[in-house]
């Protein structure tokens, strides 16, 4: 079994799975809408599939720079109260969120 190629077209089940991975609630109408539109965009990728890319190195950086580090000395950082003031909910100097994993 080889890995899927990009010529395999996207299904409604794929779209539902991807929406879950992206933490994005979508309704049935959107599943249909996105399945159709994503398939249309991905269709264009068949041109790329026809290229022989076996000897090509992927390009991950526009302008190669490596090991960019700053001096390991204390720096001023963002003001905590100012940051928390922008949060939907804060408590005791922290971000407050709803229940995680059913824990109260």
């Amino acid at each position: 079994m080889t890995s899927p190629t990009s010529s395999s077209s996207i299904s409604a089940a794929d779209v539902i799975k991807v929406a879950r991975l992206a933490r994005l609630d979508i309704d049935d109408a959107q599943v249909e809408h996105f399945t159709e539109q994503l398939a249309k965009v991905l269709e264009h990728f068949t041109d790329v599939d026809a290229l022989d890319l076996s000897d090509v190195q992927p390009m991950t950086q526009a302008y190669p720079l490596a090991n960019v580090l700053r001096q390991d000395v204390e720096q001023p950082c963002l003001d905590r109260d100012e940051v928390l003031a922008a949060a939907p909910q804060a408590q005791d100097g922290r971000f407050r969120v709803p229940t995680i994993n059913g824990e109260a």
Binding site: L21, V56, V97, T99
Partner: protein, 479 residues
């Protein structure tokens, strides 16, 4: 007021020497905003009070004989995806509506230090995803030259602000053409510098390996001036090139004698005939000015659009994961955290942003990574290699900026691929990381402006601005 200077360079010179005040210049621009902003909708936020206070401080400094900066008193508009401390920064998205950043972007700091006066934050396609500003959650911006047409995008508000005289200059961001295409459609100059020349610190990320900040201006010289102010190394951006800002203003008037300018013989088709006619006119003008026109090929750029629409959404899906209702922006009510994430993102993002998050998540998901993202990165290499070969023969390449002049609202918004084709000539430079800019060069269909794109190799801003200056001069003589 008719005698007030209009270009950034003239405004700064006049304000610095005390012949006009920053306040007078500002009031003229605020009056233009008051007269036409309701029709154009360039801004998400107008900061008139803060601008008046800033102008008064500059005028006081001039009166006291204190030094003022290279952009003293120049009214500036900022795309609303650049962080301004304590001032709303929305990315034209419901998910960030009302957010006040706790810090300034590096470009904001540098422009303020230079004396530029921010008049407001401009509208964009949500999170810079689009080519018309129709994807803004707060309604589209209209092209000041024809209100029935789009200004282009995603930096449509910034282009419109300069075209309408709301500000002398503005900043946009360009991930696949989002500065150059609206510049072309609004008839102004727009620059995407080399990736890494301008700090991205405080620019809300869309596709981090492609995003770059640059200016809009009414003249090539002003665009050079603003680029000089915002360019140069910044410790806050690990992709910032460790070099000082180049001197670009001196390049503008140098002419193009003995420069080699590339004509792409395998340029993707589909441009309007009137646009291609202007490209021919541009080659003719450059040849008349002493440049040598050389045919080059870029065989892989026909795949650029396809590669871009995998790479940019993939990076976007990762960057936009941070909008989860925890630290800033919108939170939808829910009793459990996963339900909160899903509901917040469903309520906060618009259709195009969702589409790109979905596409990017799919392209990066297990089993598909190599088939899509991996291959797209290899195509990116092929395109960069094509440019490297071409730049052994030429100093710069010119193409149309946009295949079409400003189009009507609704023309493309229902068909993602039709909208994506707006960027066919601009995307290759982002993939390669190279500088490119658009200069107005005559008109096309419906007497609307046409932009010519000038591309150059990495850190080739000096030759790029030489060609831009020559085209700007030649454009004055066009029929």
């Amino acid at each position: 007021m008719a005698s007030l200077p209009t270009t950034a360079a003239d405004i700064a010179a006049a304000v610095s020497s005390g012949t006009v005040t920053a306040s007078e210049v500002l009031e003229k621009h605020l009056a233009a905003i008051a007269a036409r902003e309701t029709d154009v909708h360039a801004f998400n936020l107008i900061t008139a009070d803060a601008a008046r206070q800033h102008a008064a401080r500059i005028d006081a400094d001039v009166a006291d004989g204190k030094p003022v900066g290279a952009l003293a008193g120049v009214p500036l508009a900022l795309k609303d995806n650049m962080c301004t401390r304590g001032i709303e920064t929305t990315c034209s998205s419901r998910i960030l509506e009302g957010w006040k950043p706790p810090y300034d972007a590096t470009v904001v700091q540098r422009l303020r230090d230079a004396g530029a006066i921010m008049v407001g934050k401009t509208n964009l396609d949500e999170f810079a995803m689009g080519s018309s500003t129709e994807n803004s959650a707060f309604g589209p911006t209209k092209n000041p030259l024809d209100l029935s047409r789009v200004p282009g995008g995603s930096s449509g508000g910034s282009a419109a602000a300069v075209a309408a005289g709301f500000s002398a200059v503005s900043l946009g961001s360009d991930t696949g053409g989002s500065i150059r295409q609206p510049a072309a459609l609004c008839g102004v100059v727009g620059v995407k510098p080399t990736y890494g020349l301008v700090s991205r610190y405080g620019l809300v990320a869309f596709a981090s390996s492609l995003d770059q900040i640059g200016p809009f201006a009414t003249t090539v010289h002003d665009a050079a001036l603003v680029t000089e102010v915002i360019a140069g190394h910044d410790l806050m951006d690990s992709t910032s090139i460790p070099q000082p800002a180049p001197n670009l203003r001196s390049a503008v008037g140098q002419g193009v004698a003995r420069m080699r300018i590339g004509r792409v013989t395998d340029l993707p088709g589909g441009a309007e005939p009137e646009v291609m006619k202007r490209l021919d006119d541009a080659f003719e003008a450059l040849a008349a000015a002493g440049a040598e026109i050389v045919d080059v090929t870029l065989p892989s750029i026909e795949y650029a659009l396809t590669a871009y629409y995998l790479i940019a959404p993939a990076e976007a899906s990762s960057n936009l994961a941070r909008y989860d209702g925890v630290r800033y922006g919108l939170r939808a009510p829910a009793s459990e955290v996963n339900a909160m994430y899903g509901a917040t993102r469903a309520a906060g993002f618009g259709d195009e942003v969702k589409r790109r998050i979905m596409l990017g998540t799919y392209a990066l998901s297990a089993g598909y990574f190599d088939a899509y993202y991996g291959k797209a990165l290899k195509v990116r290499r092929l395109i960069a290699d094509d440019f490297d070969r071409a730049y052994t023969q030429v100093d710069a390449i010119i193409t149309p900026t946009s295949p079409m002049v400003a189009f009507a609202f609704g023309d493309k918004v229902e068909d993602p691929m039709a909208m994506y084709l707006c960027d066919v000539y601009t995307i290759p430079s982002n993939l390669a990381g190279h500088p490119a800019m658009s200069v107005p060069f005559g008109t096309g269909a419906h007497k609307l402006p046409v932009g010519i794109q000038i591309m150059a190799p990495a850190l080739g801003e000096v030759p790029m601005f030489r060609v831009a200056g020559a085209l700007e001069s030649a454009a004055r003589g066009l029929k």
